[in-house]
Amino acid sequence: MEDAQIVNSLVRRCIAGDAVAWEEIVQRYNRRIYNICYRFAGSADDAQDLTQEVFIKMYRTLSSYDVERGAFMTWVTTMTRNLLVDHFRKTKQDRVTDSIDAPPSEHEDAMPLSDQIRDKGPAPDIRVQSRETGEAVQEALQKLSPELREAVILRDLQDMDYRDIAAVLKVPEGTVKSRINRGRAELARLLQRIYRQVM
């Protein structure tokens, strides 16, 4: 049986009230959803709470899933993304990187955001020494705007194709590609600055 058929069968059993099938779904998708949440939110605690929220919502709305309208994975990812956007709005994080090299305010003497980022926290050499490369990338990822962040997470971390990402984000495929490009470029610039300072 193909993976999609297995998943559809699990969903049907789950809708019928089969607790074992529900656990199978949780076992299959918890890791993936947790990773999306962790990379987007940047905190293990937030990721755990958000993953639970995603599954609670999934459990309540599972009967609304329509096999004809797309893959279950896309449906789950869309739900995750919507909750992440809600979470982002609640926590009111500032969008940083859309204009990372531009002054954030109208003041003439305002520093570019990249300089502000560089100045925050401990010195770069200490930071690089104390942290893993992955942590540095994760930190840089948090500096990206949510639109760019979600695009690169789905593409480069979750290996989703452009069409599915477009379905999840509800934007045209061209917009998805543009966001991915901008996200990668911003991330590279951020990390290059950090490492150049270390060198």
């Binding site: 755990q48 639970q52 609670i56 459990y59 996200g183 610039r189």
Partner: protein
């Protein structure tokens, strides 16, 4: 410039092939032309290098391990049923064949059972069971008797013939009883003394003849006029005097 050509490739074409190049989907020839353009083009080269670096950084991120209690927390928050995997982890290896069959059957029955356990259905099933048990007890069916019933085809056929023979026998017995009873009554009629019969007959006639008895008294004679006098008469003698009308002469 977008229309600038380097090594046989314009910047427009370079941009169009950018995603395929990053996803490593370009053929060998295109890949070579693409790399050659990136090497010499002052705009496309740095852009491609930046995108490739960003992609590389992102790909270097490893998948994080979810907390150990995450699945159980999710299950507790949703279905409320703890993980069967963790619960059965120890016993699963030593499960007997019967247990495995039961487990397999449970995978089919569990959805049905979980539906039945819903409160709205549970109440309906409860009422249906109560009604059925009342109907059975009224009909005299004991659940204990059901265990003794033999459901083999030969036994069922035998039960059918025995039951029908019993019904026929009962009907014949009832018919015999009624026949005897009617014969006894006829015999009694015939052997009853003649005088007794006469007395009986007279009694019956007396009951039917009601001419000797006085007429029931009428409270009012509705056929009489207002000015007509009431005449006194004896029942034995007919009135000798004709009706006299007394008129008052003015």
């Amino acid at each position: 410039m977008p229309g600038e050509t380097h090594n046989g490739m314009q910047c427009n074409e370079f941009e169009a092939l950018l995603f395929d190049a990053l996803d490593q989907k370009l053929g060998a020839a295109d890949q070579e032309r693409f790399r050659a353009h990136a090497r010499v083009c002052g705009k496309c080269g740095p852009m491609f290098a930046e995108l490739e670096a960003g992609q590389h950084w992102l790909k270097s991120l490893k998948e994080v391990e979810p907390p150990a209690n995450l699945v159980n927390d999710i299950l507790a928050a949703t279905s409320g049923i703890p993980s069967y995997r963790l619960a059965d982890a120890g016993s699963r290896t030593q499960a007997s064949l019967g247990e495995r069959i039961r487990e397999w059957a449970d995978s089919f029955l569990a959805p049905v059972w979980s539906t039945v356990r819903q409160p709205r259905f549970a109440m309906s099933f409860g009422m249906a069971f109560f009604s059925l048990s009342v109907a059975l007890s009224v009909a005299g069916v004991k659940p204990g008797d059901l265990s003794k019933v033999d459901f083999r085809p030969s036994a069922m056929r035998r039960t059918y013939y025995t039951t029908s023979a019993r019904v026929v026998k009962y009907y014949e017995n009832i018919r015999l009883v009624y026949e005897i009873e009617s014969r006894v009554q006829e015999f009694k009629k015939v052997t009853r003394p003649a005088q007794q019969r006469e007395e009986k007959e007279r009694e019956r006639n007396h009951k039917n003849n009601t001419s000797g008895e006085p007429e029931p008294r009428q409270e009012r004679n509705y056929s009489r006029d207002e000015n007509q006098p009431v005449l006194a008469c004896t029942p034995e003698q007919a009135p000798a005097v004709s009706v006299t009308t007394i008129r008052r002469l003015v």
